[in-house]
Amino acid sequence: MSRPGIRDSLGAEALRAKGTRDSARGIRDSGFGTRKAITTIVVLLCALVTSVRAQVSYARLLKAESDPQNWLTYAGSYKSHRYSGLDQINRRNVSSLKLAWAYQIQRAGIIETSPLVVDGVMYLSEPPSTVTALDVRSGRPLWTYSPNIPPDVIVIGSPPVNRGVAILDDLVYVGTVHGHLIALDSKSGTVRWDIVVGDNKQGYYLTLAPLALDGKVVVGVSGAETGIRGFVDAYDAKIGKLAWRTYTIPAPGEPGFETWGKGSGWQTGGGSTWLTGSFDPELNLLYWATGNPAPDWNADNRPGDNLYTDAVLAIDPSNGKIKWHFQFTPEDVHDWDSNETMVLFEAQIGGRERKLLAQANRNGFYYVLDRATGEFVTGAPYAKQTWADGLDAKGRPIRKKGIAPSLEGTLVFPNIQGASNWFSPSYSPQTKLFYQAAREMGTIYYKGAAVYKPGTAFTGGGGRYVNGDDASGAIRALDATTGKMKWEFPLLSPGWTSVLSTAGGLVFGGSEEGNFFALDAETGKPLWDTQIGGAVRGIPMSYGVDGKQYVAIAAGFTLFVFAL
C-alpha cells in the first residue's frame, strides 16, 4: 500500500464520515421525493452528523499529536510543533502533489491564519475577524460568521488580520480586531457568547488564535503601538466569564515594577501578548510570550529592563500566577516583540533528559530554556545581527554601543520586523530539527518624540527598510538543542512564511513571490514547488480524510489545498 500513514489511522471515524457523505448523496439522488421522506432523511442525517462530530474534548486536545487526521489547535499540539504525523505525502511522491481545491476569501485582506480541521470540517479565519467552516473534501463553505466591526476600529501595530481559531467541545473561539472574544456554535456559526477583552478605543485588539485548555480559553492582546498595558486573560470556556487576568507589566509594589524608572512609563508600557502560547500539561505550565515595550523606539520615559516585556512568562493556568519569567531583550528600543511561537521538546543535555522550550526570537537569537525552571540553556544567532556581542551565561544580551535609534537614523540588523515574527516555526520529532524562516534585512532606525494619547500611535520613531536586492531570506534547519544550523534553503527575499514538517520527511514553506514548496526535512533539498500567485502569508497545516492526506496553505486572497 502506498498510504502507510493513513492506513494505520483509517479508523472508525473515517468510515463513519464516509457514511455521512453517502447519506448526503442519497438526498441529492432522491430528487423531488415526498416532503415526509426528505424530513426523515434529514432527521437521519442530523443524527449521523451528531454522532460523527464528536465534541473536541480537552482529553482530545491533550492527544492532538496522535490524531493526525485532524488539526485541533493553532500549532497542531500544545507543544506547538506544527508537525503532521501523516506520511502519505512523502519524499518519494511529493513531486506528484496537485491542487485538490481552493477557496477564495470574502473580503480582500491578508491571510495569516492556520486553519483547524475537525472530523471533516475546516475552521478558517479570514481577515479581519471572520470565521468560515468548509467541507474539507470539496472546499465548499458550510457557514460563515462575521462580527460587526465598527468602521472606526483602531488597529495600530499590524494589518487587520486574524491568525486562527480555537475549538473546545462544541465551541469555536475567535478574537476580533475590535477587541472581543466570541464563542461560536461549531455546527452553525451562531454566537454563543461575545465579550470584550480590551477596550478598542484604547487601542486593544485581537489577532491571535485563542488557546483552549481544560474548561478555559486563553487569549492575549495586541496594541503596544498605542501604549496599552498588556495582559493574558483566561475565560470560562462555556460562558465567557473572566477566570483570571495576568498583566505583563507589574503594578507598584509588585516584583519587577522597579524596572520602569520612577515615572508613569509602566502604565503605557506595552508588553502585548499577541500570539498563541504553548502548554505543558504535566508541569501544568502555560507559556505565554510578550511583546515590545512602548513607546517602541524611544526609552526616555522607561529607563530599565521593562519587565515583563520581550519575555516569556510561565503561568499557572489554574490561577494566572507567574511561576517564572525569562526576558530576551531588556529595555528594547527596536520593536523586537518576543511573541514568537515557542516550541516545547525534550532532549538529553549533559546526560540528563530535560524538558525544554525553544524560540527563534525576533532579535536574531535562537534560545533554548529549561521549561520547568526558566533557566537559560543555550542561545545563538540564527540570522545576521549587529546589536549584541552574544549572550551572557544567563542568556542576557551583551549590547554593543551605538545601536540605539537616532534622529539621523541608525542601521541595525535584524530589521524592524525582526529576523522572525508571527509566522510559525516547526519542530520534527523525527529529525529533531527546528525549522525557521529567517529574514535577513537591516533597518535604519529613527528615534522620535512620543506623546501618549489613548488610541493613537505611541511609538517614538520608526524605521526604513534596507530591502530589495540587499535583503534576503532563508528556511533554516537548526539542531533544536544547540541552535547549530544543519542546512538552509535560500529565499529571494525576507518572507513571512511559516513552515510545516511532516512524518513524510518533508518541510513545507513559501515565499513572498508566491512559491509554495516542499523540502527534504533532512537535507533542505527542494523536492516540489508550485507558483500560487500571491505572497505566502498563510500558515501551512495538514489533515487527512477518506484515506487521503491534504496540505493547506493560503496565499494572496486564496486558500489552496493540495493532495496526491
Binding site: 526604513r464 513571490e513 507558483q531
Partner: protein, 260 residues
C-alpha cells in the same frame, strides 16, 4: 464630514501656529528631514531618486493637508514610505520645512533645455527610452522623469548609469528591487541569455534581452544565473559629452513632465 471640518479647523489654526513657532519649526523640521528624507529627496530637498521638493508647487501636495497626508500615509505605489508615525509637533515641523524650501529655492538645472533636447535626439536615446509614447522600451520611460527624479540623480544616470539603478516602487517585481538589473544566464546546453531582469522568484527568473525578446528560465535548468549588480545596459556618456552638453541634457530631462 467630520474629517472635512477637522481639516478646515486645522487649516485655519495652522497659520497662527506657524507664525508663533515659525523659524523654530523650520529648524527642527530640517533636522527631521535630514534624518528621514534626504536619502530620496536630497539635501535641502534638491531631489534624487525621489522628486525634488524645492519647487513652489508640489504636484502631489498642493496644500498642507495633502502634504501631511503624504507624510503620514506615504505613496506606496510611488516608493514614498510611511517611514514612521510622526507626532503632531513633528508633522508641523516637517511641513514647515518642506514649505520653506519650496519658497526659498527653485531647482533650476544649469544648461539649455532646448539644446539638451537636440542632444537627446542626436545621441539616439530614443532607441531605448519612451517620451510621450515615442521610443524604445529597453530602458525606463522618461515622459515625467523631471517630476520623478532630481537633477543630481539624472546627471549621475547620464555619467554613471550603473551607480544607482532605479528601485522598484510597485509590487511587480517587488518594492525595493533594482529595476533594469542586467542578468546573464547560461543554460546547461551552453546557450547564453543576457538582458534585464523583469521578475524573479525562488525557482524562476524572467528576462528581456536586448532585442526585446522575453525569456523564462527555471533556475535549476541553468548552469549560471549571474545578477550583474553594479552594471547597466545603458552606456556612460561621461566621455562622449562636454560638461556644457551634460548640463544641457540634464536641463532637458529635468523639464520633462512640466515646466518648473
Amino acid at each position: 464630514m467630520r474629517v472635512v471640518l477637522l481639516g478646515l479647523a486645522l487649516a485655519t489654526a495652522m497659520p497662527a501656529l506657524a507664525a508663533a513657532q515659525g523659524a523654530n519649526d523650520v529648524a527642527e523640521g530640517k533636522k527631521l528631514f535630514t534624518g528621514l528624507c534626504v536619502t530620496c529627496h536630497g539635501f535641502d530637498g534638491a531631489g534624487g531618486a525621489g522628486p525634488p521638493l524645492n519647487r513652489p508647487r508640489l504636484l502631489s501636495a498642493p496644500d498642507d493637508a495633502s502634504l501631511r497626508n503624504i507624510i503620514a500615509e506615504g505613496i506606496p505605489n510611488r516608493g514614498m514610505p510611511r517611514v514612521r508615525r510622526v507626532t503632531d509637533d513633528e508633522m508641523r515641523q516637517l511641513v514647515a520645512y518642506v514649505r520653506s524650501i519650496g519658497k526659498s529655492a527653485r531647482a533650476v538645472a544649469r544648461g539649455d533645455a532646448a539644446r539638451g533636447g537636440q542632444l537627446y535626439a542626436k545621441l539616439g536615446c530614443v532607441s531605448c527610452h519612451i517620451i510621450s509614447g515615442n521610443g524604445g522600451s529597453l530602458g525606463p520611460e522618461l515622459t515625467n522623469i523631471g517630476w520623478i527624479r532630481g537633477a543630481d540623480y539624472l546627471r549621475q544616470a547620464v555619467l554613471e548609469p550603473a551607480a544607482r539603478l532605479p528601485q522598484g516602487n510597485l509590487p511587480i517585481p517587488a518594492r525595493g528591487y533594482n529595476e533594469y538589473l542586467p542578468v546573464t544566464v547560461v543554460l546547461r546546453d551552453g546557450a547564453e541569455v543576457r538582458g534585464i531582469r523583469l521578475n524573479e522568484d525562488v525557482f524562476t527568473i524572467q528576462i528581456r534581452d536586448t532585442t526585446g525578446k522575453f525569456h523564462s528560465v527555471r533556475k535549476s535548468d541553468a548552469a549560471v544565473v549571474r545578477k550583474e549588480t553594479g552594471s547597466s545596459l545603458m552606456p556612460s556618456y561621461a566621455n562622449r559629452l562636454a560638461a556644457g552638453e551634460i548640463d544641457d541634457l540634464v536641463a532637458y530631462l529635468s523639464r520633462l513632465g512640466g515646466a518648473l
